[in-house]
Symmetry: C2
Subunit: 243 residues, 2 copies
């Protein structure tokens, strides 16, 4: 009971930090960076941090902890599997759009793509995420997938999920840091810590806090969904839920 | 048995990746950045990445996984506690020296300290690390610390230990990314990915891989040291080892 209360406190913190990240990145790019467009200009670039933080960090984190919510444990697992897969697909699509935004701006300005450490870490995270989603879909949702494969796949899926979150966190921090150095120069330098610098730094701190809370929820054994009961099989249209 | 073999493979990978990180950061700063000094010049700055990667990442990671080595399980825990505390103290001292290096260079050049997101994440990691070491020493090594306190402290200590590693990884990636943008401009830009850029990016990738392997070792329940047997108490001069 005490563990459940602690879980919901952590879960509320996770939801609140995620919303704060989204609000912060939207305010930064709409109010301080001039807003949004999809025309190869700097305004198209502004979609990059918004889509990455909202999709690859927040939606990803929300999707990762779905199975940990105790309210869902007494129910058939399949709808929660579908929700998990849908949230992750939404996150993946937003990440790919976020990539398209930055590639389009770079190409319009003849700037090379994928040279910085930030981009190496970010693209690795997205490639691993796409593989993770594909293998997860085939392994856990397709009816033809054997139970033994699911058993072997599950720990790898969970571990890789956490690892991708570590990669995306590192990519976000390096990206925000780099962006603030790029844009805050001249009269108002980053080193004088103007309001935009403070906002960007706060966004970074919120992302780190969000990542830590998600990883805390994922790593607590008491908060893991208990294995499904055999009786549940009857309610699952795609495949049994005993993996 | 299979689990032990897998552990030692992971442990060897951890040791090798750590050494590769140290070699990479030393080569980068000695051969590409002009070497080392302690005189307020740019050469003093070069100690910063070397000390942070060697101390705050590699030595910290090595210290974190000490208890997981199965060879040590049949023995009295105290020497391994002292080794854990000593490695972590070494890591903390190197991190503080690494901070001193960058503060001295900034002060000599009248550059403000602690304004960037990189520095915010890095200083938070070191403050948490210092607190973690102090509380860990008082809670787990001092004879006056009650057993109940140790039991409560242990999960917090383990969780905070992993969280600090996530913070230091993010700080390192943003720091390397920022440094490469600072130094690779003019004729040889970062975007043309010259050998120094490749080396710096590779260092970042090695740090991420090292962090993931350390977190993998820490998170595997099968690799956790079993609770000490009551008979072991007689061998521990400072306090019983049942926390």
């Amino acid at each position: 009971m005490r563990s459940t209360v602690t879980f919901y406190l952590c879960y509320l913190l996770c939801l609140a930090l995620g919303l704060a990240c989204v609000a912060c990145v939207c305010v930064w790019n709409s109010r301080w960076r001039g807003g949004f467009a999809w025309d190869g200009s700097g305004l198209q670039f502004n979609w990059h941090p918004v889509l990455m933080v909202t999709g690859l960090v927040v939606l990803y984190g929300y999707g990762a902890v779905v199975y940990r919510v105790p309210l869902t444990w007494g129910q058939n697992k399949l709808p929660w599997k579908l929700l998990h897969a849908a949230l992750m697909l939404g996150s993946l699509i937003m990440s790919i759009l976020g990539l398209c935004a930055v590639f389009a701006v770079h190409n319009a300005k003849n700037t090379p793509n994928l040279y910085s450490l930030h981009s190496w870490i970010g693209i690795t995270a997205i490639i691993l995420f796409a593989l993770q989603w594909g293998v997860g879909f085939a392994g856990f949702l397709l009816p033809c997938s054997p139970v033994l494969l699911r058993k072997l796949l599950k720990p790898v899926h969970v571990w890789l999920g956490g690892s991708i979150l570590l990669l995306t966190t590192a990519a976000c921090i390096s990206g925000i840091n780099e962006k603030l150095f790029f844009v805050l120069k001249g009269n108002v330098t980053y080193s004088s810590l103007p309001p935009e610098g403070l906002l960007g730094n706060s966004l970074g701190v919120l992302i780190i806090a969000f990542g830590l809370v998600v990883l805390k929820i994922l790593s607590n054994i008491k908060w893991q969904r208990p294995d499904s009961r055999p009786g549940e099989i009857a309610y699952t249209p795609l495949q049994d839920e005993n993996e």
